[in-house]
Subunit: 181 residues, 2 copies
Amino acid sequence: MSDDRSRARVLRHERVYSGKVLDLDVDEVEEPGGILGRREVVRQRGSVAALPVHEDGRVVLVRQYRYAVNEQVWELPAGRIDPGETPEQGTRRELEEEVGLRPRSLEPLLVFWTTPGFCDEVMHLFRATELESVPPRPEADESIEAATFTLAEAREMIRRGEVREGKTLVALLLELQRPGR
Amino acid sequence: MSDDRSRARVLRHERVYSGKVLDLDVDEVEEPGGILGRREVVRQRGSVAALPVHEDGRVVLVRQYRYAVNEQVWELPAGRIDPGETPEQGTRRELEEEVGLRPRSLEPLLVFWTTPGFCDEVMHLFRATELESVPPRPEADESIEAATFTLAEAREMIRRGEVREGKTLVALLLELQRPGR
């Protein structure tokens, strides 16, 4: 029995892959309650995403090819947090790189796990307003298209299955919940 | 240049890990637009989750330890789709196993990617109603606590950061959007 009964005890740890965007561990653990298991866990250093909202209420989404799902995906401007960055700094960097927007206001919305069953990714979600335009500077291995939608259009895109990405659904549904929408 | 310009051309494929809940590929690809990249992709066979809603509008969540994030997590009853199962069959199985509920109505809400930047997981989200109680039968390596909340309580749990898991946020925010809530 472990001393801290709310945490697992690691009986055996193996890093089976160490990569650029993720690592993979396979650990034998004793979880709270004495459950023994072999857990495959993707380790990722944390991500940021922001919903840019213009003064008239329109929102900015990006569309980019995602090899993992072999589709063009509508989603929030987003990315991994670079080493040494705060979530806010990472968000500001991604907004400038991907959509050429510099927010004067960046409101933290939520921090959540994208898929805690097998991955430790933490997603820091922001709402970006008072947007100033700057030249976008996409990374060499990115091809990103940005577009602006009314919230009613975004709601329709969800309904029609055109927006179907986790963090983007969370941010748009939160925006639809805001008082006055 | 690939013939189908909306899809990537795989230049080199390597499966670096093949496991129980996930596989990991490292592929060299030429993506649409001619972008060359090395992509680390977690392959997972698809998941289901359901928001059980009682006749009085109260919702059922489960709390379980998740080793990947080393925390107890409030989330929807959910799980991977077993081979040969439809998403609806998988959802019904998980609802019986985890919370001992058999819905007479199972409404598809959304299908979305949890984290398409590096993982192909597809999440099939349902709304379960007209709930009949049956004996729960947890799996050997699971320890799950179920609880029932009003939608107002669930909204407060989101605000306080007590509900902070992607699919669960999506389902609860959708439920808060439903006409009449």
